[in-house]
Symmetry: C2
Subunit: 183 residues, 2 copies
Amino acid sequence: NVAHGLAWSFYIGYLRLVLPRLDDSITAFCATKTSSLGRGSRKLIILIPLNANISHKLNEEDDRILFCDNLPNNEIDRAGVRGRVYKHSVYSVFDEHKKAHECVLEYATPLLTLHSMSQESSAGFGEPERRQQVLLFFRTLQDILENSLECRNHYKLILLNVEHEEDPHFLSKAILRNLQQQE
Amino acid sequence: NVAHGLAWSFYIGYLRLVLPRLDDSITAFCATKTSSLGRGSRKLIILIPLNANISHKLNEEDDRILFCDNLPNNEIDRAGVRGRVYKHSVYSVFDEHKKAHECVLEYATPLLTLHSMSQESSAGFGEPERRQQVLLFFRTLQDILENSLECRNHYKLILLNVEHEEDPHFLSKAILRNLQQQE
Ligand SMILES: Nc1nc(=O)c2ncn([C@@H]3O[C@@H]4COP(=O)(O)O[C@H]5[C@@H](O)[C@H](n6cnc7c(N)ncnc76)O[C@@H]5COP(=O)(O)O[C@@H]3[C@@H]4O)c2[nH]1
């Protein structure tokens, strides 16, 4: 059950380190930039597409998503790497009325591993199992985070059903719908 | 089988990205520093302690290991994070004759996940299984890397049996023994 281990790894090796520092990073960012981020969502928005198809540049997925800037770097000594850098990217997401909503946005990186493993025959599972593994990843991560005091209120998981998606603005709409839900 | 997925994640999300660039990073590093690294081992040395007990600062493990500097940063767009930073640390490892050997050194970070999971009851495995999982991680990683053309010759895995270790210079000696083996 690869997805179970990847969800734990994502929490232990990343979210547990960065989510408690996120609020301070956003405050520091807003102090030096004209940004609406501070008044908007101060959570890390984590995108989880069911097909595990992850792009490296969000603005290429949907032209209503524009890259703004990066939050300040966090440097942490990890396993012998001195000052390993942890950072997040801030995006402007436009609605149908051309109003911009700034937010901290990224895909759940471990899905790249699920996707690549499903294409390597020696890795042990194929495309049919991949969707199941993504769901298991999502549910395991949800459970872990709900029970984590240090992470609570600092994240939002968005499960994306991207099958047969004709709408070129599917992603920005899904993000905005989720952003509004939490207000 | 958590270790299987973590070995694949380590390869897909890290080694496959950084090992092909390592030689160039070392060349750039030696161009600007007086370093013996270029003449020595140009491989990433990855430490895998059987007890998954990983320190974040190698110089605190053994006083014959000193931090030198970091290789230049590699910035890669990954899953929505713009310019995510990948870097490695260079250490001087001294032998009994006080001669320094420079090398690029780090622990296998996924072992931190194995260690933490074995301490969280909800994660599904405990301390007795942990050693088995480390061995599975090592063997899986070894298989994947041996079959990877892009990674070949750019790494060295060192499995460390740290049980009942009285020698304060166990780690530096293990590293030097392995460095000499490959020459
Ligand atoms: N978005 C994002 N930004 C980050 O900075 C980051 N750092 C880790 N992660 C994800 O969290 C989880 C735990 O990370 P860990 O360090 O234990 O394993 C990592 C680690 O062993 C190694 N690795 C990745 N990036 C680096 C790096 N920069 N330096 C050293 N090792 C690295 O390869 C594994 C897989 O990495 P990713 O597949 O990118 O996803 C990781 C993983 O799912 C990140 N995710």
